[in-house]
């Protein structure tokens, strides 16, 4: 039915290759792929002719696993998908279960959820900036961005009990109330962030080498972004207004004042700038909420055993990478009949071949870096 995959080939043993072309394997063990992504790249000199992703090195079949877990249990597994926006993944699942149960989430829980989501988004973007600069050869910004990320991780650790895979969301609210020191620490973080993020301007944004490496590289037009199903900063850098928080607001985003960061250029630098601006917007959202977190319950009363009515439920949330869709088909039991996670990275990756064709290998790192691929998110 399908041709056998040829992993390593050169023009001698592969008749499909033209004279002078060679195939290299970037990954599964490669410093630039941030995980176990495997790209089979056909090159002509240094120019990329074709990119073929080979996935599945960490495929755990979370969808199949979730079919045997109860509605309380399956939420924690999704932290392991896109581990950099674990909170938002959990939120998507919790929202889907709540939609099925038709329960109202208390205002306090909603505010906490938004603050946590935005902190997660900042942490994710911080990591991305560092990692991307490292892909382009600048090692140092990585440590500066990690310093800020560490502060967020500490805040998370104090309130949620874990640094990365928090599992703080439960159907009906959050697992426990905010830590008493949470508000002061977040305020301190906002000050620190605003102070330190300008460093990146000197080190990365205005650096002429960085500008030359990213401007005009890996261009994705608006039409292609829509056609490839790109979401998140990748699509917004191409001018697609697809921010779920803005267009299909959930858990109270509609009451907040923030901007959707759009850019028309669609190149690697636009994706970089969009993420930088998004961090500022996240800070803006947190600032609006942090001083007026409503009092009240942090969790709605739910039954110990959750049963969803028969039907299909789909929720989407905006993770740091784009649109995460959670599609639950329930047969009325305690476990879902089928769960589909529409992960943002999977669709974004499919545009890579189109974006990187004809550019140099060095450009591939800039293009792939700005796609912000998290491999467990792609493999699920």
């Amino acid at each position: 039915m399908y041709a056998e995959t040829q992993i390593i080939s050169s023009s001698e043993n592969n008749p499909q290759l033209k004279e002078g072309q060679l195939v290299i394997n970037v990954g599964p063990q490669h410093p630039a792929t941030h995980g176990v992504l495997h790209l089979v790249i056909t090159l002509e000199g240094e120019t990329i002719v074709k990119i073929e992703p080979h996935l599945g090195y960490i495929h755990r079949s979370i969808e199949k696993m979730s079919e045997s877990l109860s509605y309380r249990q399956f939420i924690y597994v999704t932290s392991r998908m896109d581990y950099l926006s674990a909170h938002i993944n959990n939120l998507g699942c919790a929202l889907c279960v709540e939609k099925g149960m038709q329960i109202e989430v208390p205002a306090r829980a909603q505010a906490i959820r938004i603050i946590m989501s935005e902190l997660t988004r900042i942490a994710s973007h911080e990591l991305w900036i560092g990692a991307m600069a490292m892909d382009l050869g600048a090692m140092t910004p990585f440590f500066y961005t990690f310093r800020e990320r560490e502060t967020i991780n500490d805040i998370m650790e104090q309130t949620c009990g874990a640094r990365l895979t928090m599992n703080y969301m439960v159907p009906g609210g959050v697992m426990y109330d905010l830590h008493p020191e949470f508000v002061t620490r977040v305020r301190a973080f906002i000050t620190q962030f605003k102070d330190k993020v300008t460093e990146l301007e000197d080190l990365v944004t205005n650096n002429i080498i960085f500008r030359n490496r990213t401007e005009g590289i890996g261009i994705l037009s608006k039409e292609d972004a829509i056609s490839f199903g790109c979401t998140g900063p990748v699509a917004r850098a191409s001018g697609v207004d697809g921010d779920i928080r803005k267009r299909f607001p959930y858990t109270g985003y509609e009451q907040l004042d923030f901007e959707q960061c759009l850019h028309q250029a669609g190149d690697s630098f636009a994706r970089y700038i969009v993420r930088i601006r998004e961090m500022y917007q996240s800070i803006r959202i947190i600032e609006q909420l942090i001083d007026q977190i409503p009092e009240g319950d942090f969790q709605a009363k739910t039954k110990a055993v959750i049963k969803l009515p028969k039907g299909e439920f789909y929720t989407r949330v905006e993770t740091a990478r784009g649109e995460l869709g959670v599609y639950i088909i329930s047969e009325g039991g305690t476990t879902p009949y089928r769960i589909k996670y529409r992960s943002p990275g999977f669709s974004n990756l499919s545009a890579l071949d189109h974006m990187a064709r004809g550019s140099k290998i060095g450009d591939l790192m800039a293009t792939m870096g700005t796609l912000d691929l998290v491999i467990p998110d792609i493999d699920r």
């Binding site: 060679l22 290299i24 490669h30 410093p31 630039a32 240094e46 600069a133 490292m134 892909d135 382009l136 050869g137 600048a138 090692m139 140092t140 990585f142 440590f143 500066y144 310093r147 080190l203 990365v204 650096n207 080498i209 960085f210 030359n212 490496r213 140099k360 290998i361 060095g362 450009d363 591939l364 790192m365």
Partner: protein, 357 residues
């Protein structure tokens, strides 16, 4: 005043007395041993320095477990590399594969010959010293190409090809900057160049053109030694480790060591040409000040200047992103080379008119 010159003279007369005609041979052996031990020590010190500089720039502490303040970390690393198995890929060209690290190392060693380490401490004061250095340093690209080709690895091959294009082009700029000083001092001999800076270093005496030449020299040698931001030959996020992808154990260590020795040599040359080598900071007609400066040993002056330049190059490495291949060549052929050529003309004009201080 502390000086190596007296020691050398004493040892020489002692040997002449005891061994007679074999003096030259024995002295050669002593020099060889000294050169190799200098290599080893320099390698250890520079690697540690790089790690410490990187750590402090990156708000870390760097190695701090082995020995006092992590001083013995590189010794431990070297021991580890010595014990590691040196693998040779199955389809590699074994002869070239084994030869390449030694070639690179030998080139680095040969470059040591005309460097003046202190007043009167110089292995071979050849009268075309500067030319010798530029000529021999181009041989190292052959070692890199050899390593990349013989590894039978596509990453290594791409890295070697990049390195070839890079080193060959950047040698031009480095050459032009060196020529600026040669024009000013009127000699190719290292000792003459240093002597010509008796009344002040060329960097300060030669107006802006020499300053430009210095900047071009630093950029060009950074590229020649394959250092970031020009480390395309071993661009780790693109080509894993570039031309030495397949090397392990001591063979890898030789490449690693040669890289640092090369940095030392180009910085030493830069210090010699632009900053007066071992010559203390002299300002013409300020005799009291000059005399005071002479009290600091000449070897300290030389090492201080060289390590300052090494620090500068390390600072570059930990600040800048890497260039792309075509940008790298654009930088050379569109910016450095035209500027360098124009600059050489200016310097020649200054030298003819005698306008320098």
């Amino acid at each position: 005043m502390f000086s190596f010159q007296q020691w050398a003279a004493q040892i020489h007369s002692f040997l002449l007395e005891k061994t007679g005609t074999y003096t030259l041979l024995i002295e050669c052996i002593i020099i060889g041993i000294l050169a190799i031990s200098l290599f080893a020590i320099l390698g250890l010190v520079l690697v540690l320095m790089e790690r410490k500089v990187a750590a402090h720039i990156q708000i870390r502490m760097g190695p701090n477990r082995v020995g006092p303040a992590g001083m013995l970390q590189t010794v431990a690393d070297t021991l580890k590399l010595l014990m590691k198995e040196g693998l040779v890929p199955r389809l590699a060209d074994k002869f070239l594969f084994n030869l390449a690290p030694f070639l690179v190392m030998m080139v680095a060693m040969m470059l040591l010959a005309p460097i003046a380490f202190a007043r009167g401490v110089q292995i071979w004061d050849i009268n075309i010293g500067v030319l010798y250095i530029t000529a021999v340093s181009s041989v190292s690209v052959i070692g890199v190409m050899m390593a990349g080709w013989s590894s039978n690895n596509k990453f290594a091959m791409l890295g070697a090809m990049r390195s070839g294009a890079q080193i060959v082009s950047y040698e031009l700029s480095a050459g032009f900057s060196i020529l600026c000083i040669v024009v000013l001092s009127g000699s190719l001999q290292i000792s003459d160049i240093i002597a010509s800076q008796e009344s002040g270093w060329w960097l300060f005496r030669g107006h802006i053109p020499v300053l430009i030449a210095f900047v071009i020299y630093i950029i060009a040698v950074t590229a020649e030694t394959n250092r970031a931001p020009f480390d395309l030959a071993e661009a780790e996020s693109e080509l894993t480790a570039g031309f030495h992808t397949e090397y392990s154990g001591m063979r890898f260590a030789l490449f690693f060591l040669a890289e640092y020795i090369n940095i030392f040599i180009v910085c030493a040359l830069g210090a010699t040409l632009f900053l007066g080598g071992w010559m203390p900071l002299h300002i013409a007609h300020w005799d009291g000040f000059n005399h005071l400066m002479d009290w600091i040993p000449s070897s300290v002056w030389f090492m201080g200047k060289t390590f300052f330049l090494i620090f500068l190059i390390m600072w570059f490495r930990w600040t800048f992103p890497r260039l792309r291949v075509d940008q790298l060549l654009n930088l050379e052929w569109k910016y450095l080379l035209p500027i360098g050529l124009l600059n050489l003309l200016l310097v020649t004009w200054i030298a003819i008119k005698g306008w320098h201080f």
